[in-house]
């Protein structure tokens, strides 16, 4: 922050102010994302940030440095802003990791915010996660900035002339994207596969006996994997029967088929109590129309499906009737575009070629 550095450099006490702040840059304990692992390594015994006087401290009021570790989501941006406002004045911000710079691996995610738009930033550290050595380099660079008053990038390149390498007469036509997405794909969740799994065949017969008439088809899709397709109306009945043998849910999944105007909602259940059923994962799925997606919630049979269902409502908009906390935003920030995982919400496409020579 330029005015922070000016404040430190002005007045007759300047040398004391600078020296004091230089040797006591305490980062606040604001764990924002997974780069926290490398921050912990930098302040643990391996590299010991305390040698440079920098102590990882708990509360915003008593510290003067924020190390933004990695990705800032829309929800975390509010917290980062509030923490920054709480800190007393000469304060500095260092952004760590590619996710904090321009989103790194999540550059076109819908939930990402750039820290440099939320708080003024002093230094940027590349890497994912950046090594503890680059983190301590940023503390050193910050100390130099405090003492000398201006920031310096710690790397310099020297250019090389490329023109004498033998090239082309005129610019080639840049190739198109390597990604090929089938226009109207056909999605089948129960592609049968002949696998030698005696217990599975016996199990399928038992299911056919127990759920007679309730299911459309039962297929073995792989070893230890059975897919039961059913209509939405008798999902509750199937769940009631199956919940006697299978006691927990491993996955609630929604697949969006915009060109067939339908959602596939899947429940994958398994069992902990019955030793032989432990490896088996049974996938119960049904199709529901896409414009007003409602699905019976199976929380009453398997409470472990609660948060999975709320997440699926957040991301797809499938209303699970019977789930107590349905309707509120669970994972997403209030200002995120709603139901972002639907196929018609497009992300920014990759760009492989700066064809015209830019900047």
């Amino acid at each position: 922050m330029s005015e922070n550095v000016e404040f430190l450099g002005s007045g007759i006490f300047a040398p004391f102010k600078k020296w004091g702040t230089k040797w006591s840059l305490w980062p606040v304990h604001l764990v924002t994302a997974c780069c926290g692992v490398e921050l912990a390594h930098a302040y643990a015994s391996g590299y010991d940030g305390e040698r440079l006087g920098s102590l990882n401290y708990g509360i915003a009021r008593q510290t003067n440095l924020i190390i933004v570790e990695g990705a800032i989501s829309r929800k975390m941006a509010r917290v980062l802003k509030i923490t920054y406002e709480q800190m007393p004045d000469p304060k500095f911000v260092v952004v760590m990791g590619a996710c904090g710079l321009k989103g790194g691996l999540f550059w076109n995610g819908y939930h990402m915010v750039r820290p440099s738009d939320v708080v003024p930033v002093d230094f940027f550290i590349p890497g994912c996660p950046p090594t503890p050595e680059s983190l301590l380099r940023s503390i050193r660079a910050l100390q130099e900035k405090i003492m000398s008053g201006k920031a310096e990038t710690t790397i310099s390149f020297d250019k090389v002339d490329l023109s004498e390498i033998e090239g082309r007469s005129s610019a080639a036509r840049p190739p198109t994207t390597p990604k090929f997405i089938a226009p109207t794909p056909s999605i089948k969740v129960d592609v049968p596969k002949d696998v030698d799994w005696e217990f599975g065949k016996k199990l399928v017969k038992e299911f056919e006996k127990d759920l007679n008439g309730l299911y459309n088809s039962i297929t073995i899709t792989a070893k230890n994997r059975i897919a039961i397709s059913a209509e939405k109306k008798n999902i509750m009945a199937i769940a009631n029967i199956l919940s006697k043998r299978f006691d927990h849910v491993k996955n609630v999944n929604v697949i969006d088929l915009p060109h067939e105007n339908s959602f596939i909602v899947e429940y994958q259940v398994s069992s902990y109590s019955d030793k032989k059923l432990m490896p088996v994962v049974v996938n119960i799925y049904a199709r529901i129309p896409r414009d007003n997606p409602r699905f019976p919630s199976l929380v009453t049979f398997w409470p472990s499906a609660d948060y999975l269902e709320r997440e699926m409502y957040d991301l797809f908009g499938v209303w699970f009737e019977g789930n107590p906390a349905m309707g509120e935003r669970f994972l997403l920030a209030p200002d995120t575009p709603d139901f972002p995982l639907r196929k018609d919400r497009k992300l920014k496409e990759e760009e492989y070629c700066f064809c015209e020579v830019r900047e």
């Binding site: 660079a141 036509r173 070629c353």
Partner: protein, 242 residues
């Protein structure tokens, strides 16, 4: 299955546990197992396969766009250089140092280095153009020692060697396989010239006679980059091994 059972503690065991903790603390206070690397003064010896900044040698590059295609963070953009060839430029704000590009470069033009502890003051300095990626970068270094992790028996020893670690490891390129593109179904060719205009090394040329068009692939000039195979509208070109 191992059964984990923790016995109910009586006061006597409690005191013994207190004493154990205090004895361990005292022993460490007297003879500590310090394993700190004092970074600005010392630097950790990294293996040669360390994934740091990437160097580029333009003469090996066949501008096949594979590094830009494979980058998970879309950090590599191919920029048109002065000699009308597309060369990679790395945007270190997005780079996650996974080195998929180094592993994909068929011409072994991209090389790993051990440079990693770098800090920038603003983000648009981080887009390194092709010219800047050829020579090894100069970084601010304050280290006099290099620390190496050595284990003998059960003790971890930080062996300090009093010389600066060379950050540019020597790089032995993989043994390349000569491939060239050839046409599999000439009678379906549209003679549209897309392969001619997208070939980075101008290996295919198109000559127009009065009633027909001649297409010829120059086996020597073709570097096997595969762009024409990918771009051909009717997919009739394919890469052939020597």
């Amino acid at each position: 299955m191992i059964k984990i059972k923790f016995p109910k503690l009586k006061t006597l065991d409690n005191v013994k546990l207190h004493l154990d903790a205090l004895v361990v603390g005292a022993k460490e206070a007297i003879k500590p197992g310090t394993i700190t690397i004092e970074y600005p003064r010392e630097r950790r010896l990294l293996p040669d396969s360390f994934r740091g900044y990437v160097l580029f040698s333009p003469e090996n590059c066949i501008s096949c766009f594979q590094c830009s295609f494979v980058c998970p963070a879309n950090a590599i953009g191919m920029k048109l250089a002065a000699n009308n060839r597309y060369y990679p430029t790395i945007d270190y704000t997005k780079c996650i140092f996974c080195h998929f590009c180094v592993d994909s470069c068929p011409g072994a033009a991209l090389r790993p280095t051990k440079v990693h502890d770098v800090v920038y003051k603003n983000m648009n300095e981080m887009i390194t153009s092709t010219e800047e990626m050829v020579k090894p970068p100069k970084i601010v270094r304050e280290d006099g020692y290099t620390v190496e992790y050595v284990i003998d028996g059960v003790k971890l020893i930080l062996r300090r060697i009093k010389e600066k670690d060379n950050l540019i490891p020597e790089f032995k390129p993989h043994e390349k396989v000569k491939e060239y593109s050839a046409c599999v179904m000439p009678e379906s060719c549209l003679a549209c010239g897309i392969c001619v205009s997208s070939c980075p090394s101008e290996a295919i040329n198109l000559s127009v006679k009065e009633k027909e068009k001649e297409l010829k692939i120059d086996k020597e000039r073709c570097t096997g980059c595969g762009i024409c195979v990918k771009e051909c509208p009717v997919q009739i070109l394919s890469l052939v091994r020597e």
